[in-house]
């Protein structure tokens, strides 16, 4: 094993995470490589310092406080109630607004059927003021006989 590979595996070797075969290879390398031995010693020193670091601990009564917090909380399904109520209120406002609008304007007018016969088109155009037709022409169209 070369130094480069040994250095790369030193950390896992230190952690006791290497499989037996690679661990043996690292050990054999360390037996004849002073530089890698010194690197391992430095890593051991670092680990020692890390392990001596003062660690935070649970404050007294921590579990009692968490349990009290849990008791005070509504059950999961009930916690959705405010959101549900809010959504329902919005829905009611929307539907009421729509119904009010409908009642104010009355029912929608029946769709206008397009005129199909010539006389109907003519009558409609006259109603709208789009055409001016002489009375005699209208009488003729309506089939009235004026030969009296």
């Amino acid at each position: 094993m070369k130094c480069k590979k040994a250095r790369w595996r030193l950390s896992a070797y230190q952690d006791g995470e290497l499989a037996p075969a690679p661990a043996r290879e690292v050990e054999m390398h360390l037996q004849h490589c002073a530089a890698c031995r010194s690197e391992l010693e430095a890593l051991d020193g670092l680990l020692g310092n890390l392990r001596h670091l003062a660690m935070p601990v649970a404050a007294p009564g921590f579990s009692v406080r968490v349990m009290a917090g849990l008791q005070a909380r509504p059950r999961a399904r009930f916690r959705l109630l405010p959101q549900l109520a809010y959504t329902l209120a919005l829905l009611v406002i929307f539907v009421s607004g729509f119904l009010l609008e409908m009642s104010a304007n009355g029912p929608p007018a029946a769709p206008v059927q397009p005129a199909t016969t010539f006389s109907a088109v003519l009558a409609e155009s006259l109603d709208l003021g789009l055409l001016t037709v002489h009375d005699s022409t209208m009488e003729l169209l309506n089939g009235d006989d004026h030969e009296n």
């Binding site: 890593l43 670092l46 890390l50 670091l53 921590f62 968490v66």
Partner: protein, 199 residues
């Protein structure tokens, strides 16, 4: 003859069956480790208690979804890891916006635990290590803390983080190298400052 302590899964079954108070057994079993993990990650002992409290509440709410064939320890540490990362993310945003608005943000203390009384040197060393730990990239920090302070195996870290074992090996190796280098550099700088002051 002493009673065999209940397993995590037995406690969870009991809680789900309506014995809510049994959840306290899980809190007592895991609170120390969870607070140690969060405290080392964020270097703020008070905030660590608060995040840990939220972790247990979240765990309680999600107990019905926990699959008992998995490790409960991995489940709870996964939640703790995610909530800690979320907290760190929010912290970064707060610092960013505070600077943007030209306000001086109160940096959180670079200390995972209260200083050791009467041991100034140890306290100073703790501070230097904590400071350097905090400067590690988040993934390296998580892997190193889980290994060194929680004594998890690489396989257990894989269960918590979802990373492959080779990736975990690399993360821990890089974290150690970086820490070693930075601490040595700081010691060198401190020695130089002392030398200059003496002159």
């Amino acid at each position: 003859m002493t009673d065999k302590p209940q397993s995590d899964d037995e406690i969870i079954t009991s809680v789900l069956a309506g014995q809510r108070r049994d959840f306290e057994l899980l809190i007592q079993r895991y609170s120390g480790k969870i607070i140690r993990f969060i405290g080392s990650m964020i270097a703020d002992a008070d905030e660590a208690q608060s995040i840990a409290q939220d972790v247990f509440i979240k765990i309680y709410e999600n107990l019905p979804y926990y699959k008992q064939q998995n490790s409960f320890s991995a489940f709870i540490f996964k939640v703790a890891k995610n909530m800690t990362l979320n907290w760190l993310q929010r912290q970064k945003k707060t610092v960013f916006f505070s600077r943007l608005l030209g306000r001086e943000y109160d940096q959180i203390p670079e200390r995972a635990a209260p200083p050791r009384p009467g041991d100034a040197e140890a306290s100073e060393r703790d501070e230097a290590i904590t400071r350097n730990l905090r400067r590690l990239p988040e993934e390296q920090r998580i892997a190193l803390i889980l290994k060194v302070y929680l004594e998890f195996s690489y396989k257990q870290i894989q269960e918590i983080s979802g990373w492959s074992v080779p990736k975990i090996e690399t993360l821990i190796s890089r974290a150690k190298s970086r820490l070693k280098k930075n601490i040595a550099l700081q010691e060198k700088n401190s020695a130089f400052v002392l030398q200059v002051r003496k002159k």
